[in-house]
Structures are given as structure tokens and as C-alpha cells.
């Protein structure tokens, strides 16, 4: 006996067909001379045929293989929910600025508009969405909160579970083993949306500018197909990319700004310092003198700091040179580091004076009272968005809103200037709302 609710608003294969599911559609279909996957809509290569004659899709393989012999089934989304009368169980409080943004988002949702929330890092954008989400839940809507990044989903799911305690919820991502459950609220990675078909009345896309969503037509298609034809979506971002900025300027996308962080202070501006030939010097195992002086001064007054560098392969040389120059008491950490969590916690607990790291800490990791230094901000690995995010690591806490952000470059690049311009623009808007200089 299969649970039909598993097929509500989905595009899913079945181990055993049943008449209740209808005919289904072949997961891989021939179109002209080529084959197309009906789950991810990508074209198969001419070589993706199995010896038993079936064609299979490599693009969405991680969701379980589908072939021309697989059938996909859908039951139109029935919105079979019984939402509580007042679903929001979150007891925190929004600042007046947050409240204003929250109200704006709710109004646009009620008008059925696609929209963007542009909120600086540390503005508390999740909570700003709660009032609109609460309203949507009472309407019996099915809602997805998605992010291209698994770690964002993992961090988000328990918060939303607590904030909407009586609303049915499920979390979906690649490696999890918990069974799927038909729920009013779904928190999932953008990839998982490929298993849905016109399911959601509202899709909230968190970190819309994060890799790989920004560059993947497949994932953008996943969002479009998972949204009902009469549905709508909300993009959340701290650093909109070129395309979104254009839509904002042309007013083709309803936008709510929150240029101020929740503690009301403005973002620290990137201070650019020239470091002549930092890369060549680094190859010889040397670091810019002004950088060393700055770091020693931080250590002297007990100021913890993050030093961002472009590449993992640079870490050993940099650590060796820092040790040589007496900048001690820190360690390096990178994305694949098994001790990553422990090292981050050690810095938080003030057991370490600093971390040297690559861009992996740019989003979502917070330390109170931390200075930020970037070596090689002109390197191609740092995008405008990444630089603004990195700057946003500083001054996160209300007790220490003043965070220095220094960026060492060989040449002042367009990317760096754009990052400064974005911070200036956000701060200008922040000032209009009474934002304070730290």
C-alpha cells in the first residue's frame, strides 16, 4: 500500500505502479534525435545508454537514477493541511526597522507579488519573513524555504521548526535518511525541488546569490517548476548580483531594503591598503610588512581577528611566515578541514587569537568583536558579494559594533571598488533610517 500523499505536488518515481497514480510519464523521453530527462529537463549525452537499452540521466543522478524505463508520477497539490489559527510561536521581538521590512513583505505577499528582500548581513532576515510566513500558513498555503547551501538549510530548519511549532514541516537535503513526509512547510536545498511539480504557493529562496544557484539554469528551472502557476516567490539576499541589481534599478522586482543591522549600526567599510606584489612575495614565503605590523598590533591589544587568504594552498606558507614574525596563537582552517568546527569554536571561546582561512567562513559564521583582514582582495576568488559578506563578519555584536576591515591588494580592482560602492550605498540608505556610525 503506497502513501499517496507522497505524490502530492511531486514528480516522483514509484517502485511499483498503481492505478491510483495514473499513467505517469517516462522519466527520459526522446525528443527528435535526442533524449531529455523529465525530472531535471537536461539533455542526455549520446553515450548515456545502458547495455539493457535504457537511457539514463547523469545530471540528476544524486537524486536516484531515472531511466527511459522509469515512470514519474504526480498528484496535483491538494493543499491538505490543517493550519493552526496563530501559527507563529516565536517570541522574539523585531526592531522597528525589522518590523517595517516585515510589514512590507507581508503586504506584497498578500498582493501575490514576486519580491526581493535585500538585507545586510546581520540584519536578521529570517525573522523578518516570519509575519508574512505566519499569514501564508493560515491561508493553507504550501510553502518551501530553500537555499542552494546545505549548511544554511541545516541551520535554518530547527529555527523555523521552533518558530512555527504546530505547523507540519520537513527538511530535505542530499544525504539525509529521514523519510519524506507531506508537510505544509518544506525546508530544502534547491536541488530537492527537482522532485516537485507545481507544489508550492510560495517559495522563499535564501541566499539567492550563492553558488551554485546563481550560475545554474538547472536549479533556476527547479524553482520555477516547483512553484504553482499562480504561486509567487521571495528572494533573500545580502548581496544581490548584477542581474538582480538591474531588476531593482528598473523596478521590475518589488524590493524591500533593510540596510541596517539589527543593532542599528552601519556596516564597516573596506579599508584598502596597497601591498606591492603580495603574491610573488608570498611565493618567497614573505608577507607585507604593514600586514605584519597590523596583526602584531591586534595581538598586542588582545583583539581577535580573521585573516582571509585566497587559496588553501597558501595556508602552510602563510602560517610559517606568521610564526616567524611572532604572530602566534592562531591556526589555519579550510573547507575540508575535519577540525573546522572545533577551531571556529575555539576562536569564539577566545582560546585562539586568530584564524587564517579561505572564503568558507564568509557566510553564516559569527563572532562578536572580531577584526577582519583580507590578504589579496584583488584575487579572482573574491567576488564582490564575497567581499561584502566578509566585511559583514566584523562588528556583528551590539556590544562591539566597531569592526575594522582591511583589504590588502596589489591593484585596486573593479570587484573591490564595487564592494566598497555596495557598502556605501547600503550605509547611505541605513543612515536615512537613523543608522549610526560605530
Amino acid at each position: 500500500m503506497i502513501d499517496l500523499s507522497e505524490y502530492f505536488g511531486r514528480r516522483l518515481s514509484a517502485a511499483t505502479g498503481t492505478s491510483q497514480l495514473g499513467m505517469g510519464m517516462p522519466a527520459v523521453q526522446q525528443v527528435g534525435a535526442h533524449y531529455q530527462c523529465q525530472r531535471c529537463q537536461q539533455w542526455l549525452a549520446d553515450t548515456d545508454q545502458l547495455p539493457n537499452g535504457a537511457w539514463y540521466c547523469r545530471q540528476c543522478l544524486q537524486l536516484g537514477r531515472v531511466t527511459s524505463q522509469t515512470k514519474l508520477y504526480t498528484i496535483p497539490e491538494p493543499n491538505r493541511f490543517s493550519p493552526p489559527e496563530s501559527p507563529l510561536t516565536w517570541t522574539g521581538e523585531l526592531s522597528p526597522d525589522q518590523q517595517q521590512a516585515a510589514e512590507s513583505i507581508r503586504q506584497h505577499v498578500q498582493l501575490g507579488q514576486n519580491q526581493l528582500l535585500w538585507a545586510v548581513t546581520g540584519a536578521g532576515k529570517t525573522e523578518i519573513v516570519y509575519p508574512a510566513l505566519a499569514w501564508a500558513v493560515t491561508q493553507g498555503w504550501r510553502i518551501a524555504w530553500v537555499s542552494p547551501r546545505v549548511d544554511v538549510c541545516l541551520e535554518l530548519a530547527p529555527r523555523i521548526r521552533a518558530a512555527f511549532a504546530a505547523v507540519s514541516q520537513c527538511l530535505l537535503y542530499g544525504e539525509q535518511s529521514a523519510p519524506y513526509q507531506y508537510s505544509q512547510l518544506t525546508v530544502c536545498t534547491t536541488h530537492q525541488l527537482l522532485r516537485f511539480d507545481q507544489a508550492f504557493d510560495w517559495i522563499i529562496v535564501d541566499e539567492v546569490d550563492a553558488f551554485p544557484l546563481a550560475t545554474s539554469p538547472l536549479l533556476q528551472l527547479a524553482i520555477t517548476r516547483a512553484e504553482k502557476s499562480k504561486g509567487q516567490h521571495l528572494y533573500l539576499t545580502a548581496t544581490p548580483g548584477e542581474k538582480l541589481q538591474r531588476q531593482i534599478r528598473q523596478r521590475t522586482l518589488v524590493t524591500t531594503y533593510l540596510p541596517l543591522r539589527y543593532h542599528g549600526y552601519l556596516l564597516p567599510q573596506l579599508r584598502v591598503r596597497l601591498a606591492w606584489r603580495w603574491r610573488e612575495r608570498l611565493h618567497k614565503g614573505r608577507l607585507p610588512r604593514p600586514l605584519i605590523r597590523q596583526l602584531l598590533a591586534y595581538l598586542g591589544k588582545g583583539q581577535r581577528f580573521l585573516l582571509f587568504v585566497p587559496h588553501v594552498r597558501d595556508l602552510p606558507e602563510i602560517m610559517a611566515e606568521l610564526g616567524q614574525q611572532g604572530v602566534r596563537g592562531g591556526v589555519s582552517v579550510h573547507a575540508a578541514d575535519p577540525e573546522r568546527t572545533g577551531k571556529v569554536q575555539a576562536l569564539r571561546d577566545q582560546k585562539l587569537s586568530y584564524l587564517v582561512t579561505t572564503t568558507i567562513l564568509e557566510r553564516g559564521v559569527t563572532f562578536s568583536n572580531i577584526a577582519v583582514v583580507i590578504l589579496g582582495g584583488d584575487d579572482a576568488v573574491f567576488s564582490t558579494a564575497a567581499l561584502v559578506q566578509i566585511a559583514g563578519r566584523a562588528g556583528r555584536s551590539a556590544d562591539f559594533p566597531d569592526g575594522e576591515v582591511t583589504c590588502y591588494v596589489q591593484t585596486q580592482t573593479r570587484v573591490v571598488r564595487r564592494a566598497q560602492a555596495m557598502i556605501t550605498r547600503l550605509n547611505r540608505q541605513g543612515k536615512q533610517r537613523g543608522g549610526r556610525r560605530p
Binding site: 549525452a45 553515450t47 548515456d48 545502458l50 539493457n52 539514463y56
Partner: protein, 225 residues
């Protein structure tokens, strides 16, 4: 520029002076160098019976336990995290394109073996229908082989990987000989080919059947040990 079959990134295949002087079309590697490095070849000292990497060249503890039921196996790679990740995607997720990743090393390994007939371990009917391919023959390019073994129809297909060592060791004979087998293997030297040597139970079952068909010698080669 070529695309790595595993990570799908494009890469520049390394070209040596020797390659250029050979005046032949260059072989296109299936894997980029970092995917290549996920496999650990078995080199130097290894167990002479099962082929596992070890510090000595005497029979390992597991092989000693087999007593007189001997079999000589060679293995190409260690069954480590990289190989497991590969098998997971190739065999269990069914990514047939990944067969290309190990075709070249298998080709070279087969060239070093002495045999008359190559016999791949078969997959059962259910696996053939669901997976759609035999993972072992997928690694062969155009080397001739004989599918003289079949999986008995009544053999319960529970994956070996889901069993404990003790359970695997008591697995009943899963194979039978094809009707035409005797003609092909009688008095010949047979090389069995399989993906992973774990306990050696499957290969010994296969070898027993091949001997019943009149083969004069049976050895085996596996991708991993």
C-alpha cells in the same frame, strides 16, 4: 581540453614528449589528476593469495583461514574510501559512464595476466533489469570474454555488501555453468574477473564451477581488494 568522467570538470591531459614522438593518436584519459588520485594502486609487497596490500609477501591471515581451498587472486587497487565512493556511484547509483574510469588500468592489468579464457562474474537477472549493466564487463573495452557462468534462478539476490563476513562465508553456491561452457573452458586456463575481493567466497564458488567444467587452471583478477 577534455572532461573528467567522474567530477565532470574539464582538464588539460598531460602530454609527454614520448607521447608526441609516438606519432599515434594520444589516449584520452577518462579522469582528471585529482580524481585519479582518489584510487590507491596496490604496489610492492602484497598477499600472494588474495592480492591485498601488506608489508610482507606471506599469505595473509584471511587466506590462511581458507586452508586448502586455495585461489590466486590479483588486485589493482586498495578498497579504500576513494574506491568505495567510486563503487557507490558506479554500481549502486548505476552511473554506467563511470566504467570508463577504470578501463585503462584494467586493460594494462589483463595484458600482464596469463590465461586462455576470460570469465567475468555475472549479475543476476534482477540486477540486470534494475541496474541495466554488469559492472564487471563494463570495464572491458574490446577484450574477448566468455559469459559461461550464470546466476541460478533460485539464488536470493541479497547484496554481498549487506552481509557480515560470517554470513558471506556460508553463502550457498550461486552459480551454474552455461550449457555450452564445457566446450569453451575444458583444458583451458581461465581467469575470473570481479569487482571487489572481500572474503573470496564468491570467487571460490565461481572457481569450483569452472573446475567442474574441466578447466585446467583458474586464477582471478579483481579491481579492488
Amino acid at each position: 581540453m577534455t572532461r573528467c568522467v567522474w567530477c565532470t570538470r574539464t582538464f588539460e591531459p598531460p602530454v609527454t614528449l614520448q607521447d608526441l614522438l609516438r606519432w599515434r593518436p594520444l589516449p584520452v584519459p577518462a579522469l582528471c589528476s585529482s580524481c585519479q588520485e582518489r584510487f590507491t594502486p596496490i604496489t610492492g609487497a602484497h598477499c600472494p593469495a588474495c592480492g591485498r596490500q601488506q608489508a610482507t609477501t606471506i599469505r595473509c591471515h584471511d587466506c590462511e583461514r581458507w586452508g586448502t581451498e586455495t585461489l590466486t587472486n590479483h588486485a589493482l587497487f586498495q578498497y579504500d574510501a576513494g574506491m568505495k565512493a567510486y563503487m557507490q556511484q558506479y554500481k549502486f547509483q548505476g552511473d554506467y559512464a563511470l566504467r570508463k574510469a577504470l578501463q585503462a588500468p584494467l586493460y594494462r592489468a589483463l595484458a600482464r595476466q596469463t590465461y586462455d579464457v576470460l570469465v567475468p562474474i555475472p549479475v543476476d537477472q534482477h540486477t540486470w533489469l534494475t541496474r541495466g549493466f554488469n559492472q564487471v564487463t563494463g570495464w572491458l573495452r574490446d577484450q574477448p570474454f566468455q559469459q559461461v557462468l550464470r546466476v541460478k534462478a533460485d539464488h536470493k539476490s541479497q547484496p554481498q555488501s549487506a552481509k557480515t563476513r560470517a554470513e558471506r562465508l556460508v553463502t550457498p553456491q550461486p552459480f551454474m555453468l552455461d550449457a555450452a561452457a564445457a566446450k569453451i573452458i575444458a583444458n583451458r586456463r581461465v581467469l575470473l574477473l570481479d569487482d571487489v575481493y572481500t572474503t573470496g567466497r564468491t570467487l571460490r564458488h565461481a572457481a569450483n564451477q569452472i573446475y567442474l567444467g574441466g578447466a585446467k587452471a583458474v586464477t582471478s583478477l579483481t579491481l579492488a581488494r
